[in-house]
């Protein structure tokens, strides 16, 4: 009897991958542990091994096929002696089905075409958030010889999340520095280097690990310009993936947005789209102050339109209105925007017109845009992935109450992650995160619907 070998999940967030190369052919007898294929994920190219013995009956996906979903059958394994030739479909035919199954990236569909960030008629190109971040760093490194990147696995490994892929080849080991696993030490070194005339970009493999280095981010980088009477700003960017990925448990799933946004002396950026990721990272690298740049692993592989301009930047402190609306204002940032935009789509079908505001930077915050929107819609719901106590939403609710109280027709409702350490179990993790359904329910509650 033939056994199907399925496309494996090779990382916590992998949903699909590219079948880069077959290392077996039909008729080969394979042993357990033998490498069957090379599979390229958005993070790395991995070798995929056979778990059982058998004879290759058919290859169901052609070499080079991209977008192969996890759990798609990719190979038929016959038992020794079994003739599988009859079952083998023409190799080229199968992938067409697989490719057709790949979904269109949902969030892009609701993007407002009007933009305050680039002139009308600007040519656009589609790229992932990952590519946008990489392009931002590469462009700034080309433009300024004192910009350098350091962190764990940024060089020879090509980045734990492939953000820095290719940078070592282009810029060399002096400017793309692999560090030992020693967050507190290399963060302190980077801050010192920023005082010494460099513009370091520090990549934290995830922001969870930056907890070991938080003293240098706060006490050394953020406060020294003030403590020195303006003599010593730290032109440095701290960046990496923030918030929950998928099924990695409590120590690796935490949103630090509200933590860092509380600290004067820091600038804090949390982009959602690829255009914002690129334009804001370029601004961050040019800034004379320490910038905390919070990325998201789930967003890395998502594609957006990015202006095809030689030097595209986005200033800090300018929110983006993704969708105009009249009944309620939904304010979010980072991956929270995914839920906000999905909710707005659903609400539109129920006749509720939601205005969706992406803060983009959390220090400074564009209060004016939020307040103007709330004064127009008279209702506000905030969406974020972080913990509820002392959240960005709490801060916005308090600001709106103090500055737009008379315009409110309902209390501001904050949608956040739940007040629990992130559980591992799939069902509990889903429950712990903020959801589109919760945003829809919150909006309906403030609209008294």
């Amino acid at each position: 009897m033939a056994t199907e070998v399925l496309m494996p999940a090779l990382s916590p967030t992998m949903e699909e991958g590219t079948l880069a190369k077959w290392l077996v052919k039909v008729g080969d007898v394979v042993k357990s542990g033998q490498i069957l294929a090379e599979i390229e994920t958005d993070k790395a190219t991995m070798e995929f091994e056979a778990t059982d013995e058998g004879r290759v009956g058919a290859l169901l996906v052609a070499e080079g096929t991209a977008g192969v979903k996890v759990n798609t059958p990719i190979l038929l394994m016959s038992e020794e002696g079994e003739v599988a030739a009859a079952k083998a479909a023409p190799v080229a035919a199968a992938p067409a089905v697989v490719v057709a199954a790949a979904p269109v990236a949902a969030p892009v569909a609701v993007v407002s075409k009007a933009s305050a960030d680039w002139p009308e008629g600007t040519p656009m190109k589609t790229m992932t958030v990952r590519e946008a971040l990489r392009e931002a760093m590469a462009e700034e490194m080309r433009a300024n010889p004192t910009v350098m990147l350091m962190g764990e696995e940024v060089g020879e490994y090509q980045g734990a999340y492939k953000i820095s892929q290719g940078l070592l080849d282009e810029f060399g080991p002096k400017r793309v520095v692999d560090t030992p696993i020693t967050e507190m030490g290399f963060t302190g070194i980077a801050v010192g280097a920023s005082w010494g005339g460099l513009n370091p970009i520090v990549e934290f493999m995830t922001w969870n690990f930056a907890m070991q280095a938080i003293d240098h981010i706060l006490n050394s980088a953020a406060k020294t310009n003030y403590m020195s009477g303006g003599q010593m700003g730290a032109p440095i960017v701290f960046r990496g993936t923030n918030g929950a990925a998928a099924r990695v448990g409590a120590q690796h799933s935490q949103d630090y947005a509200a933590w860092y946004a509380a600290i004067p002396g820091l600038k804090v950026v949390m982009p959602y789209s690829a255009a914002d990721a690129k334009g804001l990272l370029k601004s961050a690298i040019r800034d004379r102050n320490p910038v905390v740049f919070l990325e998201n692993e789930i967003l890395y592989g998502q594609s957006f339109d990015v202006p095809d301009l030689p030097d595209f930047t986005i200033p800090f402190g300018k929110a983006r209105i993704w969708r105009q609306g009249s009944d309620v204002t939904i304010v979010s940032f980072g991956i929270g925007m995914k839920y906000a935009l999905e909710a707005a789509d659903i609400l539109a079908k129920d006749g509720i017109s939601a205005e969706v505001v992406d803060l983009r930077t959390l220090r400074p915050i564009d209060y004016d845009t939020v307040l103007a929107s709330v004064m127009k819609t008279n209702r506000c719901v905030t969406v974020e992935e972080g913990f509820p106590v002392g959240s960005i939403g709490d801060h916005l609710a308090s600001t709106i109450m103090q500055r737009a109280f008379d315009h409110l027709d309902a209390p501001v409702v904050t949608c956040t992650g739940k007040d629990v350490p992130m559980p591992y179990a799939a069902n509990l993790e889903k429950l712990a995160l903020v959801t589109t359904a919760e945003v829809v329910a919150a909006v309906k509650s403030v609209c008294y619907r």
Partner: protein, 329 residues
Amino acid sequence: MAVKKEPTKSNVSKEELLGFYREMLLIRRFEEKAGQLYGMGLIGGFCHLYIGQEAVVVGLEACTKEGDKRITSYRDHGHMLACGMDPKGVMAELTGREGGYSKGKGGSMHMFSKEKHFYGGHGIVGAQVPLGAGLALADKYLGNDNVTFTYFGDGAANQGQVYETYNMAELWMLPVIFVIENNQYAMGTSVKRSTKSGTFFGRGAAYGIPGEQVDGMDVLAVKAAGEKAVAHCRAGQGPYILEMMTYRYRGHSMSDPAKYRTREEVEKIRSEKDAIEHVRDLLLNAGLASDEDLKVIDREIKEQVNASAEFAKDSPEPALAELWTDIYA
């Protein structure tokens, strides 16, 4: 009666010895004055005096050239005076006034002078160690031959980030001199009660960093060791560790009752090892200066320190609008 230390024979010039005497005396008189102003309520918060350790910074500053950098902990007044910062600006920062190096917004523990390449003044024990290595990384990256002096105490020497830094400093061959000012007490905890390591410099061997222990009460020994370390760094051979055996006469901070050591212990070091007395003896015994010559210097230093105190008292408090400036560069 305690036996005085035999003065070190040296080919040091008269001018240099007189310079050492003057600089060390400035630090001591400045710190004594700071102690007085603290007692009068003119200096607030934490105030950590450097009295007793003067030979360390003065001897090492004698090895520096323009462009070299220095960074230290919160016990930082001596380092600032030794690298040429104005005593008036330092004292006015202690009193929290507009004329201070940080416009009164940093205080005793957080002072900086980019002009003099003094990078603080850091209040978190051990934080200055990777920061100093980072300054050295920048110099290496920029391709100059500057050296960074990174000072920390025996207390900080037990912080994990020191060893993270040792590892990377040697791995990347950074031009940084780690100066451990071993004054034998981490606040109130003696070295004996905090480690079983025989020496602190010896820990560098685990990372391949050479180092040595130095009599930190002897400014000439400090200078000689400093020159060796600087040559090592400038030649691109990576970091070097100097463990300066020194002693602080005063408490950890102004509020330290010093119950962890005896008065006799302090008196014994003062009478046998004092760094300023050592240079004074060298000058007098070799006939390089007379009592009268030194009295002239003493008087000049006293006037300089008094002037700094007057400046620090007269300088106005920062304007209230200063609360909101300098948060961002």
